[in-house]
Amino acid sequence: MIPAAFEYARAGSVDEAISLLSEHGEDAKVLAGGHSLLPLMKLRLATPSALIDVGRLQELSYVRDAGDRIAIGALTRHRDLQVSDELARSAPIVSHVAGLVGDPQVRHRGTIGGSVAHGDPASDLPAVVLALDGELVIRGPAGERVVPASEFFHGFLETAIGPDELLVEIRLRKTQGGWSYQKFNRRAQDWATVGVAVARTDGTPAVALVNMGATPLRAAAVESALAAGASPAEAAESAAEGADPSSDIQASAEFRRHLARVLVRRGLEEAGV
């Protein structure tokens, strides 16, 4: 399978990437690791007119301590997250989850920015970004803006990033104490049928769901039940409240709701809530 023809331009800097995006118009796409985009292009489910390759922007590959947050460059690859000392100290859930994405070959190419920008509710890292109250730093011709994760995911494969904009940084809260990531799938390298991220940044634990709707979701009913003093087992009962999972070859919507309740309970228990 070979993608449909496209124009290709390699950006040497963030500014150049943004001007290339404006120049090539709406049908151009950013190419990071290519491990979501190229499979779609090979199946001709995506036929961008041009690819703006940002894969070599070393300036966007980093994990830094930014005071009460950690700042992660959008082009940081899953493998680099997995072995980051900074994340091991301040948000180990991110390294752990990066290590569950696909397989080693996928992790050598795929980036956190690509995972988040792709907007696939079945992806692992977006739920972690949501649980850690992420801030997405987006740059475009008009300058830089910061979008909270709660307003970033608009729908299935739709995010707040405009066609001429680049996601440059992801800022996450540091975690405190126990956390958990529960990924349920049938085969080792598969995407999550359902996934659950539990982390504490301050106060009550944050709980986020993978593949329980068109976007990653916060399990708001679980969080408020916990805040009101419910036990983990009681709170987990409301895990699927407000979620709208789909039925597909992996699982029915009803099975997904069941998984969400079970995985949230396990996650809360593992996190020591």
Partner: protein, 157 residues
Amino acid sequence: MKVSMTINGRSVDADVEPRTLLVHFIRNDVGLTGTNVGCDTTNCGACTILMDGESVKSCTVLAVQADGASITTIEGLAEPDGPMHPMQEAFRENHALQCGYCTPGMVMAAVSLLQENPSPTEAEVREGLEGNLCRCTGYHNIVKAVLAAASAPGGPK
């Protein structure tokens, strides 16, 4: 678009269409057919090569993305008439191949695995090879071979 890269120590220059996949470039343009295409959908790992030392699935990389990179394919692990690479030797010793179709990708993934983790446990080997499928399902001996290569005298290369 012009690309130049090093493949198995030899520098290669070519003019490719941007949509050319790296695996097709390696097989059809450079003529190195040791790297196989299995699924063509990023699942099976038959097309695994090393790009700047790390395992990647070359059916899901564009040749233009590899511009300037250093590529190693199965043909590059050993000299044509020299001794085999320790990983190849371990695969032979342990009967880690049946039809052999997955083998080039398995070997390259295993070499990358030992570079990142020189003395893995059995579980770590199994997890480390999760991106490679063997349709003959000879996983048991493949895992044995990788563990043998890891503890071979002189260590993994």
